[in-house]
């Protein structure tokens, strides 16, 4: 269940913040962009394991100084969300930038303000391009959630390890775990395909 919780929140938070970050990366001026660019490149540039440990030890320590104690699962969710935010930001920026400039100009000539151009013209076109790589990110999150065992979140793989330790049917347990991941990711992909169809034109 922890795996599902962690993945679910990582996807929701990552999608929301990622789209916002991607918007800023595409349309912000260079001073506004800079910290976001730095964040995205940094998080994408380091292994997810390092992010998980950094959040767990460094952020966990800092927050405990001000009286906030993160549970292991919360640290894990923050780490996965940090990565999915960066991924979705980059995906969104790319999608928005690939829309021809003529689209904005055509919107302007019929009197639309920039926010309306974004909502009715740019975003609907971008979303069609965002969805396929977004599914990738989502499935990466389910797989990334297994690493949370390393900071003591009792997720599937850790549970399997423990079962294997008291049992001899190692292959069977691992195959079962594999099957669960496969099912969850298939579900995500199906859902993504459904969204893709809805967003296509």
């Amino acid at each position: 269940m922890n795996m599902v919780t962690a993945t679910f929140f990582a996807i929701i938070i990552g999608t929301t913040l990622g789209i916002l970050f991607g918007f800023i990366l595409c349309y912000g001026n260079k001073y506004v962009k800079f910290p976001f660019r730095l964040y995205v490149d940094f998080i994408r540039g380091i292994p997810i394991l390092v992010t998980i440990f950094s959040i767990y030890y460094i952020l966990g320590f800092l927050l405990s100084r001000v009286g906030i104690n993160l549970t292991n699962l919360q640290s894990g969710i923050i780490a996965l969300s940090a990565l999915s935010t960066a991924q979705v930001a980059e995906i969104t920026r790319g999608a928005l930038q690939s829309i021809p400039k003529g689209q904005i100009e055509a919107g302007k000539t019929i009197g639309l303000s920039f926010d309306k151009i974004f909502v009715f013209i740019l975003f609907p076109q971008a979303i069609a391009q965002i969805i396929p790589p977004w599914i990738n990110t989502a499935t990466e999150m389910t797989k990334g959630s297994t690493l949370l065992s390393l900071i003591g979140v009792p997720e599937l793989l850790l549970t399997a390890h423990q079962l294997v330790a008291t049992n001899t049917r190692a292959l069977l347990y691992y195959m079962f775990i594999g099957l669960i991941f496969f099912l969850v990711n298939t579900l995500i992909q199906r859902f993504g395909k459904f969204l893709e169809k809805k967003a296509s034109f």
Partner: protein, 255 residues
């Protein structure tokens, strides 16, 4: 003076240190059709883009329907209006682009009604009634629910024309609207523009279709190297062609 719909005074446009045009003056009366011809790089397209405020310009003024657009004077300094004011001034003008620029995620009808609903705040059924009528007028009554990707270039451009006239602009700007079309599709688009001209639409047309310009225009403007080199009736520009530079330019076309 009041019978002028558009008056451009000494318009000046620079890109950095690069001069696009200077001292451009132009007058358009209501229901007049004015064509702008000239070799590429002479500033024709940029002039249209200035009129619909997609470009900033560094000097001169544009008076549309008796009101200066784009800039105003604040404390003795020339300042561009806020985007909000610019948007409201833009809809006085309609523009059709060389590359259509239809919204690919919307059907032909939705392309046409978007501005009516989101800018003019019309309700949907009323807007769609207008949209359908306009699409019928450009000969696309059968295609109202088609997406742009399912339409030919000529059909897409006609949707773009319908989208622009839906906003009921005072003046229509056509920017080389047939340049991206296959030769066999040019006629259908030009016919729509001709029809609009006959219905009394005021238009400013940048074109390389000399025969069309000759037939449809009340006035023809020849731009050369960033200034207006000659203005006259189609007869004066295409038949008499007194200016040597104009003669040279026209000799590259079969007119």
């Amino acid at each position: 003076m009041t019978d002028l719909l558009l008056k451009i005074n000494n318009l000046k446009k620079w890109y950095g240190t690069n001069k696009v045009f200077e001292d451009v003056c132009l007058e358009v009366r209501p229901k007049e059709v004015v064509s702008i011809i000239g070799s590429s790089g002479s500033g024709k397209t940029t002039l249209l883009r200035c009129i619909i405020l997609l470009e900033e310009f560094q000097g001169g003024s544009i008076i549309l329907d008796g009101k200066e657009i784009g800039y105003h004077i604040v404390n003795g300094k020339r300042k561009r209006h806020s985007e909000k004011v610019i948007s409201s001034q833009r809809i006085l003008t309609g523009m059709v682009f060389q590359s259509f620029n239809l919204f690919p995620h919307l059907t032909a009808l939705k392309n046409v009604v978007l501005g009516l609903i989101k800018v003019k705040h019309m309700d949907k059924s009323e807007a769609e009634k207008i949209g359908i009528k306009l699409l019928e007028r450009v000969g696309l009554g059968e295609k109202i629910h088609s997406y742009p990707s399912k339409l030919s270039g000529g059909q897409q451009q006609r949707v773009a024309i319908a989208r622009a006239i839906a906003m009921n602009p005072k003046i229509m700007l056509f920017d080389e609207v047939t340049s991206a079309l296959d030769p066999e599709l040019i006629g259908e688009v030009l016919n729509v523009i001709k029809q609009l001209a006959e219905d009394g639409t005021t238009m400013l047309i940048v074109t390389h279709e000399m025969r069309f310009a000759y037939e449809v225009s009340d006035k023809v403007v020849f731009m050369d190297a960033g200034r207006i080199a000659d203005v006259g009736t189609p007869q004066e520009i295409f038949i008499e062609k007194k200016l040597p530079r104009l003669k040279e330019f026209l000799s590259t076309f079969n007119v």
